[in-house]
């Protein structure tokens, strides 16, 4: 395959990926920092480079509703949003998943109001974590682009049929210029293939009703099916990631590890902060410290068994959450990672850091402090505070 390397922002990379996928329908409403994605896409539409039906709806609630209608009609449908936009579509986000519509949505992560803020944290997608959508998080523009293309295959897989959110950090990734290797158009076209929905509206041979009332008679069974689809999504994510890797040289799994095998302490984190952590690890390794990283890509489905296996040899682990869950204990990634390790005969000590809310910068010194704290925990054999806040004025 011929590929080319360009300088793109995360939003440009996503828009370019969408162009190569050439979905049947895109409906969206502008919101910072996502706006550019659909704005760039509207120029592709105007220039006749895509066949997409592009709908400038009046709100995110209508954007999601329109792509639900389109997907029910048998179309490959996409949208993109951030923060308040995702919150505003919340009602129908659940409906997309329960109707098993393989919609793909890019989310440029941005803090939720209030107070109103436009910068990065994960409170928006964490708020939708139990909506039944698959969630893939991206470290950089390259991963955002690669995740988007794979998302189509994962969502539409007959064992899955669930919508997918492709998450990229607002501004940090959406607006920063990076080098991105693009696949050629023909490859993407072939990789995503032609979408053949199992059921869709107005298929005269198989008439259907979508989303009817479902009470105590069958609601529970349908929810059980949804849970099963999410469980099966794990193998599909792995298989699609491997196939993509074989063809592009950029393989993907449920998570990526960095210097983890012989590490004594490690950080678990998602998205762009993983890049910062890698740079800190390089420095600390040069000083002889055995530190490592696990960067989670698939938060939904949550790969609990694989995580336990990957982290079991460690002495202490810090899980970094870019969202709080205001439950008076730990944040979402921490609580789940810690639960995943519960069945291990010997568990690492685990602590949680909530960091970077509302776009607060998380620099190398903060990450270095986390590794220093972990070293102290190992040395003293004292856990101390389990849930901590990083980089906040107390």
């Amino acid at each position: 395959m011929v590929s080319k390397t360009v300088a793109y922002t995360g939003n440009e990379a996503i828009a370019h990926g969408m162009k190569q996928i050439n979905p049947d329908v895109i409906a969206a409403y502008p919101i910072t920092p996502q706006t550019e994605i659909v704005q760039i896409y509207s120029t592709f539409v105007a220039d006749g480079l895509v066949d997409t039906e592009f709908v400038t709806v009046e709100s995110e609630h209508s954007a999601m509703s329109a792509v639900i209608g389109a997907a029910a009609g048998g179309a490959r449908a996409m949208t993109a949003t951030s923060s308040q936009g995702l919150a505003y579509m919340h009602e129908v986000v659940y409906i997309a998943a329960s109707m098993r519509l393989p919609i793909v949505m890019a989310v440029a992560n941005r803090a939720l109001s209030g107070p109103i803020n436009i910068h990065c944290d994960h409170s928006d997608t964490m708020g939708a974590r139990d909506s039944g959508w698959i969630q893939l998080y991206s470290e950089n523009a390259q991963e955002a682009y690669d995740n988007l293309i794979q998302a189509v295959r994962i969502a539409e897989h007959p064992d899955v049929q669930l919508p997918v959110m492709v998450c990229l950090d607002g501004f940090i990734i959406s607006h920063a210029l990076e080098t991105v290797t693009l696949n050629d158009d023909a490859f993407v076209k072939e990789f995503v293939g032609i979408y053949k929905p199992k059921h869709h509206l107005l298929d005269p041979e198989n008439p259907v009703t979508m989303g009817p009332l479902d009470l105590f008679d069958f609601y529970f069974e349908h929810k059980r099916d949804q849970a099963e689809a999410m469980r099966k999504a794990k193998d599909v994510i792995i298989a699609v990631g491997q196939e993509y890797g074989a063809k592009t040289g950029r393989g993907y799994g449920l998570f990526e590890t960095y210097q983890l095998d012989d590490a004594e302490t490690a950080i678990v984190v998602m998205s762009s902060t993983a890049g910062t952590a890698k740079a800190v690890i390089d420095e600390l390794r040069a000083q002889g410290q055995k530190v490592g990283l696990l960067k989670l890509r698939s938060f939904r489905p949550f790969p609990y068994a694989e995580l336990a296996e990957a982290l079991k040899h460690l002495k202490a682990v810090a899980v970094l959450d870019r969202a709080d869950s205001f439950n008076a204990f730990g944040a979402p990634l921490f609580v789940q990672t810690r639960a995943a390790l519960y069945d291990l005969p010997q568990r690492p000590t685990m602590i949680n850091y909530i960091y970077g809310l509302g776009g607060r910068d998380c620099d190398m010194s903060q990450i270095a402090r986390v590794y220093a704290d972990l070293a102290e925990i190992v040395k003293s054999n004292q856990t101390g505070e389990i849930v901590r806040y990083l980089g906040v004025r107390e």
Binding site: Y29, P30, I31, T32, T35, E36, V38, Q39, S42, T43, A46, F54, T56, E58, S59, E60, Q84, Y88, S113, G114, P115, I116
Partner: protein
């Protein structure tokens, strides 16, 4: 001029803070702010007024209006204002909303606040696009107008037709006063100021819902100089959105 005949014809409104506006050069949001402040001053309402800021370029309105302010989520200002007014009926409550906020994502809230005849005043800034997010098409965008999501111009077939909010709300029985004004020249600005004052008077009379649609410029996203933008406002925008009073059920007229 002899000393005895001197009179102050203009000053800095008390209802504005001294904070400099962040608006782009030539943007008429600043003029609209000043007109609202002058109306509050003229009626002596500053100490009783609560403003509801919306989401859009005027998101920082709370920095400029020298009264209590609350920030609402995108489109929800009329509902928030309803809540405020119901618990503080003696307060003067106004919202300040753009056309993305009011005519797009907040269409339901404005229609129902008007239909209920909520005794609030709405200042609706129609600049025919979503300014803050970078000039995308709004429901108010004119046919043929180029925006960042309609780079070749709005086409009715794909993007539908512009909405005349003032006319649409005027079909309801709840509104006491609805007018459309423009800010394209000094004369129009004076007229706009009168309408805004009248809208607040309607609220003081407890006559019901009042709204002034203010045709406004967005030189940055229209890709025009400030002067050209004012010309465009007068010759093109105000041609489609005709200025005038659409509803007046206030006592002054009725009586």
């Amino acid at each position: 001029m002899s000393a005895g005949r001197e009179r102050l014809v203009a000053g800095y409104p008390e209802s504005l803070t001294e904070q400099a506006f962040h608006y782009c050069p030539g943007c008429t949001h600043g003029i609209a702010h000043r007109l609202v402040a002058e109306a509050l001053d003229a009626l002596g309402l500053r100490e009783r007024t609560i403003g509801v800021a919306s989401v859009g370029c005027s998101v920082f309105a709370y920095n400029y209006f020298n009264c209590d302010m609350q920030q609402a989520a995108h489109g929800r200002a009329p509902a928030v204002a309803t809540g405020i007014k119901r618990v503080l009926p003696d307060a003067v409550v106004f919202t300040y909303q753009g056309d993305g906020d009011l005519a797009s994502i907040g269409t339901a809230e404005i229609v129902h606040a008007a239909a209920r005849g909520e005794n609030i005043t709405v200042i609706f800034i129609n600049n025919t696009n979503y300014g803050m997010t970078g000039g995308q098409m709004a429901p108010t965008t004119l046919i043929g107008q180029k925006t960042t999501t309609t780079p070749l111009g709005r086409v009715a077939e794909n993007n539908g037709y512009p909405i005349r909010m003032a006319e649409m709300l005027a079909t309801l029985d709840g509104p006491a006063y609805i007018a459309r004004v423009s800010l394209h020249n000094a004369q129009a600005v004076v007229q706009a100021g009168r309408s805004i004052k009248k809208a607040f008077q309607a609220q003081l009379e407890r006559a019901g819902f009042s709204m002034v649609e203010v045709l406004s410029t967005c030189p940055t996203n229209w890709g025009m100089t400030p002067v050209k933008a004012l010309e465009h406002l007068e010759k093109v925008v105000a041609e489609y959105y005709r200025v005038g009073v659409l509803v007046d059920r206030t006592k002054e007229v009725a009586g």
